[in-house]
Amino acid sequence: MVRTWGIWISAILFFFYMTVWTNQTEMALASASVPTGWTLFAILTGLALFNIRKKFPAFPLVNSSSWYVFHVAGGFLAIGIFWLHIGSFWPVGLYERCLAILFYLCTFSGILGLIIQKLFPLRLTQSGAEYIYERIPSEISEIQKNAQDLLLACTRETSRDTLATHYLETLHWFFQRPRFFFSHLFGGEKSAHWIQQRCSNLERFLNAQERGYLRKLFALADVKRKIDLHYALQTVLKSWLIVHLPLAAALMALIVWHIMVVHVYFL
């Protein structure tokens, strides 16, 4: 906690220092854009190193949590330095606008990722279950197999196929793969209602023995629902980087071009 606050306070102090320094420099009729530009480049390079750090988990390059805090604080610092650098919120040249668009998109995706990382783990914990993302296909397959075994047992024991037929016509679709992705993502209860409705509609057509199997099937569907929730949330938790990282790469590439152009034509 101390380390986290230390990094945040350092970032805030550095931003204030840069703001005052830029103001003083502008007052002295000097150009602050070059020093702020190099500062911004250094910060963005530091942010980009976080991804490289992740590829070398065995090396003692400061723990990942510190890198993460630095990445988040540095990201917000970069926004401020960016505005100091361009002196406004929106540049006028086409290629500089491309650069600004990439910066803003990268920043926006980063902030979105930060929000996701703060909210979704809470919801995953509140679901009461833990599922490893890579094992979700295996979990679904296992539940589907358990459901089918349950139906075979029910059919054998009761000599009735009402439950099995209903499963094939409705619940089989649900057990096949993760469902109700967006409902889970935005915290909806569509999945639970859907299961509830399908099971309660059937209940009156079943005898007491079959109802016992239906309750077991309902319990399996509820587990599947939680797996679907985990799948939806964990997919987004892992996938937002698919947007953030390429944007960051494109941004860094265009920054290198920008530095070249500035050095050829201006400095």
């Binding site: 007052m27 002295a28 006028v92 040249g93 833990e130 698919i242 390429p246 494109a250 265009l254 034509y265």
Partner: protein
């Protein structure tokens, strides 16, 4: 939750950093426990890779996948349980990496494409940071970016070399722009005069590529305070008071006493019909800052024109002579007068009584270098001159004037002098008689009468009168001989006298002394109206203020007459620094009544200019015009 679910014998170890995942799992079937190979091929075509134990093969299937199978390996050492291979799918990491590379490639491609398009369309979108201002756009139409950026068009190798070479863009501004001082010193001031001046360059304030309008950094008091020692918040709060003599610190070129004119002459019934109703009756706004009096002919002539011809110049005067030294026969011969008998000549010599009791003119006293009050000394020289004038008319006089002047000026000084008039006057004086002019000289100019040859100025700007005054000032400054200098100064003082000086020019035109010590003796006449003091860093719009406040007597809002000021005494001295204005200094508080916080604009640049005499070079004007 089943905590044993992840025990080593119930589940395999997940490796999320692997690039591929099982194809069956991707289709939501149970993935095989072996997973795909690193190269993306299926690794689960068999349940295990049997190992040779002694001379028989053993099943290696891990406990997490169900443990050794009942069938066991084939005799050839192959797994008995074989499956159809799956098509492994890339993990999110792979997609992420590919997209990142694609994004970098896209940026590179975009730069290349826009570079190629730039070569054709000349828009230079790939590196143009913004549109050029309308002030500069026409200069880049033909030559493009290389007008300001020398590295442009030098080729890709040079372009890359330029990354490490300083690009002195500001130096290119000097191709067109010109200043009164150094372009790269603060305020374009003279670095010799102000050695502590900071180095500056154009881009410190002027930012190009910011759109149609040239972006100029806005100045406020804080920015000015950064360099200037006297610091303040704004014009209304802390700005230094104007100097005590502002803006009338320099002696006026025209001696015009506002106090006597306003309080005396303009009220006099004789002149009241010519009196202006307001200040604008005499003054007119030339430019924003410059308010000059109108022409002499418009403003002054009605009251002062008649005074000019009254102030005549006496060129030569027949003075009292101690005795007659002129050979009268020579005079008569030169003048074409029949010679009389010698007895009479003799009698004239013996009974000589000078017809004049005057002293010679100061002009002739200087030219002949004789004391004007000692007839014994000047008589001979003057009679020689008279004889010469009788013989050669203006020639000897012109010769004398040119001999005393640094530059030949006699033609101008004697312009309009009729040689016959001079000759006849000299002839008369040579015979010791008064010259009787044939007619009244009513048109001014040169004329002779009785004992004098005089010049009557014809009016304002009379060139002969001006040349005589300038001659008197020049010789008084250049003479080295003490005796001649005394005569030169006497002549000069007469010329500079408002009562006796030719034309009375000095009644209005100020005489000033050169400021340098070496040239302190040199006096000059301010013939023209010099106007306001040259203040290159300060500007003020009289027009805007008068339009807003009214053209009546609103001048008095700021220009208050100081009735106690001894204005005319300033002109007793030739020192231009010794000056008492007719007016009080402008009071800053008067300006602050409007230019204050929350009222009218009070930015520094409203009254102050940064640059010193900015201009353009001819080269800029040769640029092709936009059709």
């Amino acid at each position: 939750m089943d905590e044993k679910k992840f025990s080593h014998n119930r589940s395999s170890y997940e490796r999320p950093n692997f690039p591929y995942r099982c194809g069956r799992g991707a289709l939501w079937h149970k993935p095989c426990h072996q997973g795909p190979n690193l190269n993306g091929t299926c690794g689960g075509t068999s349940e295990c890779a049997p190992s040779l134990n002694g001379n028989h093969w053993e099943c290696n299937r891990p406990l997490s996948a169900g443990g050794p199978c009942g069938e066991g390996p084939t005799p050839q050492g192959e797994c008995f349980l074989r499956h159809a291979p799956c098509v492994p799918k890339p993990t999110l990491r792979i997609y992420r990496g590919r997209l990142a590379i694609l994004a970098i490639g896209a940026i590179f491609s975009l730069i290349c494409v826009s570079w190629i398009i730039d070569q054709v369309q000349k828009n230079y979108l790939s590196f143009n940071p913004g549109p050029i201002s309308s002030a500069h756009i026409k200069f880049v139409e033909k030559e493009g970016c290389s007008v300001c950026h020398s590295m442009h068009k030098l080729g890709s190798v040079s372009w890359l070399q330029a990354v490490l070479t300083p690009a002195n863009v500001a130096a290119k501004c000097e191709d067109c722009h010109l200043f009164g001082g150094s372009a790269f010193k603060a305020h374009n001031a003279d670095p010799v005069k102000y050695p502590k001046l900071q180095d500056t360059h154009c881009m410190m304030c002027h930012r190009e590529h910011r759109g149609d309008k040239l972006h100029i950094r806005q100045f406020d008091a804080k920015q000015c305070n950064f360099c200037h020692k006297e610091q303040f918040d704004s014009f209304s709060n802390g700005h230094p008071e104007f100097p005590a003599d502002y803006p009338n610190s320099r002696k006026d070129s025209i001696k015009f006493d506002h106090i006597t004119h306003l309080n005396k002459y303009f009220l006099d019934p004789k002149f009241v019909e010519h009196s202006p109703e307001t200040c604008m009756g005499c003054h007119q706004i030339m430019q924003d800052q410059i308010v000059n009096p109108d022409k002499y002919e418009v403003v002054c002539a009605k009251c002062h024109d008649f005074q000019i011809p009254r102030k005549e110049l006496v060129l030569v005067r027949l003075p009292e002579l101690d005795r007659d030294r002129i050979d009268r026969s020579t005079v008569r011969s030169a003048c074409g007068i029949p010679d009389e008998d010698s007895a009479n000549n003799k009698k004239e010599d013996e009974d000589f009584i000078s017809i004049s009791t005057e002293s010679p003119s100061l002009v002739s006293a200087y030219l002949l270098n004789v004391p004007e009050n000692e007839p014994e000394i000047y008589s001979q020289h003057l009679q020689e001159l008279i004889l010469n004038l009788a013989e050669e008319s203006t020639a000897p006089l012109a010769q004398l004037l040119n001999d005393h002047s640094p530059v030949p000026i006699a033609d101008k000084m004697l312009m309009g002098l009729n040689p016959e008039v001079l000759k006849r006057a000299a002839c008369a004086w040579g015979l010791n008689v008064e010259y009787e002019r044939p007619a009244e000289a009513s048109f001014g100019g040169w004329h002779a009468d009785l004992l004098e040859v005089r010049y009557t100025p014809t009016g304002h700007k009379d060139p002969v009168a001006k040349s005589w005054i300038e001659f008197a000032l020049a010789v008084a400054a250049s003479e080295t001989d003490a005796e001649k200098l005394k005569h030169a100064i006497a002549m000069r003082d007469q010329m500079l006298s408002s009562k006796e000086g030719v034309g009375g020019c000095i009644k209005c035109h100020a005489v000033t002394q050169a400021s340098s010590e070496k040239a302190e003796k040199i006096l000059s006449i301010d013939w023209g109206y010099k106007g306001a003091r040259n203040t290159p860093y300060v500007h003020y719009s009289h027009k805007n203020h008068l339009d807003l406040l009214g053209k009546g007597n609103t001048c008095k809002n700021c220009h208050l007459i100081n009735k106690k000021a001894d204005y005319l005494s300033s002109f007793d001295s030739f020192d231009s620094k010794k000056f008492v204005s007719n007016f009080y200094s402008i009071n800053r508080e008067t300006c602050v009544e409007c230019h204050a916080e929350g009222q009218v604009n009070q930015e520094c640049q409203l009254c102050h200019s940064y640059h010193f005499e900015p201009g353009f070079k001819k080269q800029m004007l040769l640029a092709e015009k936009i059709p």
